[in-house]
Amino acid sequence: MAQKEDGLNNGPVQQPLPLAFINGEAIVEKPEDLYIPPDALEVILETFEGPLDLLLYLIRKQKVDIVHLPVATITLQYMEYVEVMKSLKLELAAEYLLMAAILAEIKSRLLLPRPDSVEDDDDDPRAELIRRLKEYEAVKVAAGALDAQPRLERDVFAVKADVPPSVAPVRIEPDVSLQDLVMAFSHAMKRAAAFEHHTIEAEALSTRERMSQILSMVNDKTYTPLDALFTIDEGRAGVVVSFLAILELVKEQLLLCVQAGPYARIHVKLGCHGED
């Protein structure tokens, strides 16, 4: 129980800060009795977190253990506080009045004669109130302990170091599956077929690919010999593909073909608008 007493004494309410200033005089302690100016009482009542807090304060003032809750005295004192409160802070009253009713009920039950057979604690009408007071007291202690815990922004500060400009966010690119790609193509073509009247030309893929390759092999500055664009290892089929690709490129004016004379080597370069 000593621990509980400590908890009470360490509660945040009991800090020796002035509770109110009456005529320039600081009131540090909560008054020992009720003979205090009403405007000071108003301030004091505001410092209570509710009826349980007020009850705990009254019990502490009686210097008794919660377990031996002196219902009669406490009820009397409590009612006096509530009376003052009713005239000052009406909106506070409801919760306090409920507690007053509970106290009155306990008091009346204590006055009734009790059968000898049921002597255990469970039947003590005070038991439930004592349980609630103890629980609330534990909350007060816990709240105080939490407040004393080293807290960020108040007791400790998070530390951060900068990064040099060489640190750049890494971007993870989305995954694409081959199936996504084919479906996308299929979809685009179907839509085009549904809405367009123009025919969609389709070259063999291998020719289109070779067109891209040839375009990256030549440039618009120097001429490249035509035969350099053929690879013998690919065999006849490969040569045919290259030839078709070159013809297509020439047709689209992407490649410029020149021949110095009959039977001379044919040279190609990238079609360049600038020269026209």
């Binding site: 977190e49 509710g50 816990a142 407040d147 960020l152 108040r154 400790v156 500060f157 530390v159």
Partner: protein, 211 residues
Amino acid sequence: MAKINKTQLKQLVEAAIFVADSPVSKLTLRETVLAEFTVSERALNAVLKELMLDYQPRGIQLVEVASGYRFQSVDSLSPWLSRMWQESAPKYSRAMLETLALIAYRQPVTRGEIESVRGVSVSSNIIRTLTERTWIKVVGHKEVPGRPALYATTRQFLDYFSLTSLADLPSSDVFDALDVQYKPPATATLDAPSEDDRAIETANIEREENE
């Protein structure tokens, strides 16, 4: 997977924790800065421990909190360090701290349960402030009429109060003792006042929803 020597590992872990915006867990280290290295759990623990010791005499310390490791200033320097900022740290009211304490110790808990322990209603403002600070969150709904929200604390709450887990909460023994001594009687739920509480609870929730 590449190898990394201990000096490099220590430097990398140290720098990573320093430059991160929030506490860094060992898992995060492994998934980011250490992704391409083979590092045993023992080696990682060893460098973290060494770093903690290295900083012991310094103005900042390496500490472990709920969501990982972070460097923070030494608590005794706070009176002077707080002068670096114009605003002082926010103060929290007793009502706020008691509500937070109840959620922390009694989670998951409904607003009605908090109110019945504290004996007063919990203002929506308090719940909102605690939620906005990401200290508490709704983790479910209690299967009673009105299905009130069940509140619990978050990892950020533990981080903010420099705790690694709920078990580290100060004076949790006070509550443990209560639980053993005072089992709420089975009849409690049938008590007349509890009905009222529930009515209040439902009303509050409706009020919250309307806001």
